[in-house]
């Protein structure tokens, strides 16, 4: 078990990178506590897999350091780092039984026979694979195969970190949530540092205590699920997390006030930053239909049972709202209001208001 630190990490797949665009990872500094559950979340191509491969040792970064418990492991190969990894597709040893699969990493390390047996049975029990131990691993369903891949990491007590690379990709939708919660439960029982890479918000937020959101090789926010939802530090986080995502509306700032289409908008607190591109960010959950405010026309109404998702047009801008009360009709002219405590200004993408 260990604490993981990334120091001034940069990586480029090119031989002679010149501009920042040539880097798949642009200067990353991170500190991860021992025994935490972390997620790396971002769209495909954001650099999260590159970062994962650097931590596991499959890739040596162009610049910077990877530290496990203050020890520099930047150039150590994966087998010298005491890590475990679960891949997108279940990796199992086809010809071995489930038991032998789970015992394999221990036997390779010369663990005594009795100790192997105790540990394998213990982990198999936790993963609900106890009844399958004697079965050939290739005969199992994908979700159980993926449990075996997890199990081979969990049996070892010397692992610094277990990494999950989109582990639920091939699992049936009906089984996904079961495996997801199983993983959460395992983390609580074994308390080893775990890093979970995904582009699925539900997987990331459900699994992790801390989520690292990445975009274009940059970490845009590190925070708890509540922080990411309630106070996105970057418009990308607001857009990427939540369905539908945050409304991002261009605005003007004059005299310390934000103005959207001629209407002053009340914010959570004073504006602290400025930039070429100023935008208001407000989640659909905090947009209300009121008697006065920003005029808009209703374009679409989708009743999804628990609430209604309403799409309104204010000039060139589309504003999404989640309405729990009686929904408006398509074509209706309404006025929109934003809940001030949940309305913020972003300058060039980054948050530029302070909590009042």
């Amino acid at each position: 078990m260990s604490r993981i630190a990334l120091r001034k990490l940069r990586h480029s797949y090119m031989k002679a990178p010149s501009s920042p665009e040539d880097y798949a990872l642009k200067e990353i500094d991170l500190e991860w506590a021992d025994g935490g559950a972390y997620a790396l979340l971002g769209p495909s191509g954001c650099g999260k897999s590159t970062l994962l491969n650097i931590i596991s040792g499959l890739l040596v970064p162009s610049e910077g350091q990877v530290l496990f418990n203050d020890e520099d492991v930047t150039s150590l190969p994966p087998d010298k780092r005491n890590i475990a990894q679960v891949f997108q597709f279940p990796v199992i040893y086809d010809t071995m039984s489930v038991y032998d699969n789970l015992a394999f990493p221990l036997r390779n390390r010369g663990v005594a026979h009795d100790a192997v047996d105790t540990r394998v049975r213990e982990i198999a029990e936790m993963l609900e694979l106890g009844d399958w131990l004697k079965v050939r691993a290739s005969n199992l369903a994908p979700d159980n195969k993926q449990k075996i891949s997890m199990g081979r990491g969990l049996v070892r007590d010397d692992v610094n970190v277990i990494m999950f690379d989109k582990p639920l990709t091939v699992i049936d939708p009906e089984l996904k949530w079961k495996l997801r919660s199983k993983l959460k439960e395992l983390h609580q029982r074994i308390a080893v540092t775990m890093i979970y890479v995904t582009h699925d918000q539900t997987e990331a937020l459900t699994f992790a205590d801390q989520v690292v959101v990445m975009q274009d090789g940059v970490v845009v926010q590190i925070g708890t699920p509540v922080e990411l939802f309630e106070r996105p530090q970057h418009t990308f986080v607001g857009h990427f997390i939540g369905s539908p995502g945050m409304n991002i509306l261009p605005c003007e700032v004059s005299g310390g006030r934000a103005v959207f289409r001629g209407h002053p908008v009340a914010l959570e607190g004073p504006i602290t930053g400025s930039g070429a591109r100023m935008e208001i960010g407000v989640r659909p959950e905090f947009v209300k239909i009121e008697s006065e405010g920003i005029p808009a026309v209703i374009e679409r109404v989708a009743d999804i049972g628990r609430h209604t998702v309403v799409e309104a047009r204010a000039g060139d801008e589309t504003v999404n709202a989640i309405i729990s009360s009686e929904p408006p009709q398509v074509g209706e002219e309404v006025h929109l209001g934003f809940e001030p405590a949940q309305t913020r200004v972003y300058a060039d993408g980054w948050i530029a208001t302070e909590k009042g």
């Binding site: 596991s56 890590i83 891949f87 990493p105």
Partner: protein, 286 residues
């Protein structure tokens, strides 16, 4: 449902007709010959299973079958491990991949009788590169036409040279289909190189290796052209394999009945061994 099934058969009918023409009709001719005796002039007499019992008791047949089995076993024992080893050593990406593949495929592109002729000239003690080098430069007495050992060594080396590539290509196809994640997982699990081979590469190559072994078995068991061109079955009868013997009986002596019976026995052996191989190698998959 019923009409569907019947229409299905209609679609298969042309293929069945083709197979019948291609295989069944000639085979039935052979079966016909095998149970009759002829004294020429197209006069045939019923002989029952006489030829079969004669052949099965004949020492000449036993010897030829023994030589055949020895040949096949030897080349399988060499070509399969060697092919796998070469496939493992080949690069898996980069500009050398196509170069290696073309080099490997070269021997397979040469017609069989040419292979025999090539090796015949290659091994001539007076002018052949190999024969001359062994005899004159290295002082080893090597002459295929005199020494059975030299003749055997030559046909085995020739077959290995000609056909190992097939095993290599098949094994290589199996190897490159293994996703990178398997190797990474094995590294992380602390597996040795031997473990990687034993538990990842070999199981993943099993299907293609089954095909390779089957193909090599059938081909080598039925081999005719190359050893015939190279040694003509000699010196003496030392390299007279089953097929060479069969042709001698059928065409050399024009004993159609015994030759037909021999062909059928030969065919039955090939079929039985192939079936056995296949069943054994695919047994534990279910």
């Amino acid at each position: 449902m019923k009409t569907e099934t019947q229409r299905g058969w209609l679609f298969v009918l042309p293929v069945l007709a083709l197979v019948a023409f291609n295989a069944l009709v000639p085979l039935m001719t052979v079966v016909n010959y095998s149970v009759q005796e002829t004294f020429g002039n197209n006069q045939f007499f019923w002989h029952g299973l006489g030829w079969f019992s004669d052949i099965l008791r004949s020492e000449r047949f036993h010897a030829a079958l023994g030589r055949q089995l020895f040949f096949t076993a030897t080349i399988l024992a060499i070509e399969v491990p060697l092919g796998v080893a070469i496939a493992l050593a080949m690069p898996r990406k980069g500009i050398w991949v196509p170069v290696c593949l073309v080099l490997m495929a070269l021997p397979l592109l040469i017609p069989w009788n040419v292979v025999g002729a090539m090796w015949n000239i290659f091994t001539l003690p007076d002018i052949g590169l190999l024969g001359y080098t062994l005899n004159t430069t290295l002082g080893i007495n090597y002459n295929m036409t005199q020494s059975p050992v030299a003749a055997w060594a030559t046909i085995i080396v020739m077959d290995v040279w000609h056909w190992t590539s097939l095993v290599v290509l098949l094994a290589y196809a199996g190897l490159i289909s293994i996703p990178e994640a398997y190797y990474q997982a094995a590294k992380i699990d602390g597996a040795s190189n031997w473990s990687v081979f034993r538990y990842i590469q070999l199981p993943k190559m099993k299907r293609v290796l089954t095909i390779a072994v089957l193909l090599r078995f059938m081909d080598s068991f039925n081999i005719y052209t190359e050893p015939f061109v190279l040694t003509g079955g000699g010196p003496g009868n030392s390299t007279t394999l089953l097929s060479i013997d069969l042709v001698k009986v059928a065409l050399g002596q024009f004993d159609l009945g015994p030759a037909a019976a021999m062909s059928l026995i030969y065919f039955a052996i090939t079929l039985a061994v192939s079936w056995l191989f296949y069943t054994l190698m695919t047994k534990d998959e279910s």
